[in-house]
């Protein structure tokens, strides 16, 4: 029980740090909001008189002491109010809400597909340990797991989409398309999402492969494996029923932990394929310096990752009876 409380405390502390960081970053930054509101350097700018600046500051509560501002920020957050986007002229949370499904489905799909493919290849590799299949698979996977995902994405984009014309170049679905049935719509979305998902799964696969292979090799040396083989059961049954079910624990944990990593990869890959998720939105927000939106996305993404990490802890405990 104390262990559980400690985890909760840690989660809370981490989230609190992120909120505080989010609050203090714009205030630590050189310059002030009026500089950015009045335009870029060198442009013809609208200048504010002192009186106007005072009025604006009072309106946004910037004339209050920092602690009061902080308190107000926390209250607003608790109400689910992330602020108002300057560029899109809309509520930040409304904008983010529309983008979440794209990103989350990409992250989850890539972890699931990459996880399954990596695990199966890892089992294969462990079974043929030290043989030619293992050697080839192992060295390829080590390399694949080191290459940053957005580079693989660019390669896919130029070879499969631009050169071969197999996939659309950008976007999440065909703009202004009329779909006769929901099936057509779904196919269009799958067609657009295929390359981003493939890229991210390819990178995830490397990590899963290495973990699955290691875990399987440990299990393969156990006595009950020798027994199973002596009984004359088929290879597939030994591999997947006897070995994999005992080697699955680290793989499942990895699945949840790698969601955190996948988020970083997704932000970059979305920008390669101009996929309409949170990553693309974040870059747009950075380019137009829409600070409330940047902060809102940051908060959403980190909260998602923290919750997933916490879920990994809980699931690990459920699956492994040895941990109290």
């Amino acid at each position: 029980m104390t262990m559980f409380n400690k985890k909760i405390l840690k989660l809370f502390l981490t989230f609190f740090t992120i909120i505080t960081l989010n609050f203090s970053l714009p205030r630590l930054m050189p310059g002030d909001p009026f500089y950015f509101l009045s335009g870029e350097q060198g442009e013809i700018t609208v200048s504010y008189s002192d009186e106007e600046i005072q009025r604006q500051k009072a309106y946004y509560g910037l004339d209050k002491p920092v602690l009061v501002q902080y308190g107000r920020y926390l209250v607003n957050l608790a109400r689910g109010d992330l602020g108002y986007s300057i560029y899109f002229s809309n509520d930040v949370w409304t904008i983010i809400k529309n983008r979440i499904p794209w990103s989350v489905s990409l992250v989850l799909l890539s972890v699931i597909i990459g996880g399954f493919a990596g695990t199966i290849l890892g089992c294969l590799s462990a079974w043929h340990r030290k043989g030619p299949i293992d050697n080839i698979l192992y060295s390829t996977m080590v390399f694949v797991s080191e290459i940053p995902p957005f580079l693989i994405g660019i390669l896919f984009l130029f070879y499969l989409a631009a050169q071969q014309g197999l996939f659309p170049l950008s976007g999440g679905m065909t703009p202004f398309a009329d779909y006769a049935t929901w099936m057509e719509r779904l196919l269009d979305i799958v067609h657009h999402g295929f390359l981003p998902a493939l890229t991210l799964s390819a990178v995830q696969m490397g990590g899963f492969f290495l973990i699955a292979r290691n875990s399987m090799i440990t299990v393969m040396n156990k006595d009950y494996m020798t027994t199973a083989r002596a009984k004359g059961i088929g290879t597939a049954r030994i591999l997947f029923r006897h070995a994999l079910s005992n080697a699955a624990l680290p793989i499942v944990t990895r699945m949840f932990n790698s969601i955190g990593q996948a988020v970083g990869g997704t932000i970059l890959v979305e920008n390669v394929f101009k996929y309409p998720g949170l990553g693309l939105l974040m870059r747009q927000a950075v380019l137009v310096r829409d600070y409330p939106l940047i902060q809102g996305i940051f908060l959403t993404v980190t909260l998602f990752v923290l919750i997933m990490n916490y879920a990994a802890d809980i699931i690990y405990k459920r699956l492994d009876p040895r941990i109290v």
Binding site: L155, F158, G264
Partner: protein
């Protein structure tokens, strides 16, 4: 007790084991020499030329030689890589030793900081920090170091925790040895292999992070880093419908991949030779 020299000897004695096909030294060598007299920031020929004798990797949309840009970008990548690795190793080693040795409230604070930084996904925080503090090579190094000192600190802390209980350290302390004496005489030689391996790992990670940031357009806009070349190329209208990508995109991409893979194999080999395991994040 093992001293510094024997570790270095172990690295060099196994010289032939450090992957012979590793192109890392070759790459550094070819880039650090002033290989190209062509300018990296002014046009030196017709725009969008395919690789030819004059421009061995072709030119971009402004007619700037790509090989010159890649040479210059390498300097940037390596500067960010080594700068970040140095800064974050310094912070990480110091905090790791201090929190492991003294324990108590210092340890509590450092461990909490490590836990928090481990849990936060690093790319979003880099983007946010880059957006707020403005893109410059110095800022990128500072941000990356702030996020990556955790890796050496965590391992070194646990190593020091174990070492602290050794009898020779206790004896030295009994004779009145100071913290700095124990650190430099006893801890440092033991920690050295961990430092070396994590140093290379940090370089590799920093290079990838810098390339990602500048690909997103958050790198230093005044210096042509590899990620920025890719950013410009992908933002060029019609890049998908022409053959320009065959040199404009492929070469910078290939150079990033080669550099990342070679540092990665180097760190793997180092781990194997020095027989330590640093769990990747």
């Amino acid at each position: 007790m093992i001293d510094d020299a024997s570790h270095i000897k172990r690295i060099f004695n196994s010289g032939q084991n450090i992957c012979p096909p590793n192109p890392c030294p070759v790459l550094y060598g070819s880039i650090c020499t002033p290989a190209c007299e062509t300018s990296w920031d002014t046009p030196s020929g017709p725009a969008l030329q395919a690789p030819n004798r004059e421009h061995i990797l072709g030119t971009d949309d402004l007619g700037i030689d790509l090989w010159a840009q890649i040479c210059y970008g390498a300097r940037n990548s390596i500067l960010v890589g080594i700068g970040t690795a140095l800064l974050s190793s310094l912070i990480g080693v110091f905090l790791g030793i201090v929190s492991g040795y003294f324990g108590g409230i210092t340890d509590l604070i450092v461990t909490a900081a490590i836990d928090i930084l481990m849990a936060i996904p690093s790319l979003p925080i880099m983007i946010v920090a880059g957006a707020f503090f403005g893109p410059s090579t110095k800022n990128i190094i500072i941000i990356l170091s702030f996020l990556s000192w955790v890796m050496p600190a965590r391992i070194i802390r646990s190593k020091v925790l174990a070492l602290k209980e050794e009898s020779y350290i206790k004896v030295a302390k009994g004779y009145g040895a100071s913290f700095s004496y124990i650190t430099f005489k006893h801890f440092m030689p033991q920690i050295f292999p961990i430092c070396a391996t994590s140093f290379i790992k940090l370089i590799s990670r920093a290079i990838v992070s810098e390339a990602s940031l500048s690909f997103l357009g958050l790198g230093d806009p005044t210096s042509k880093s590899w990620g920025l070349i890719l950013n410009f190329a992908l933002n060029f209208r019609g890049i998908y419908f022409t053959d320009y990508w065959k040199w404009w995109v492929v070469y910078p991409l290939a150079f990033i991949i080669i550099l990342v893979l070679s540092t990665a194999t180097l760190s793997r080999e180092l781990e194997r030779v020095l027989d330590i395991k640093i769990a990747g994040q």
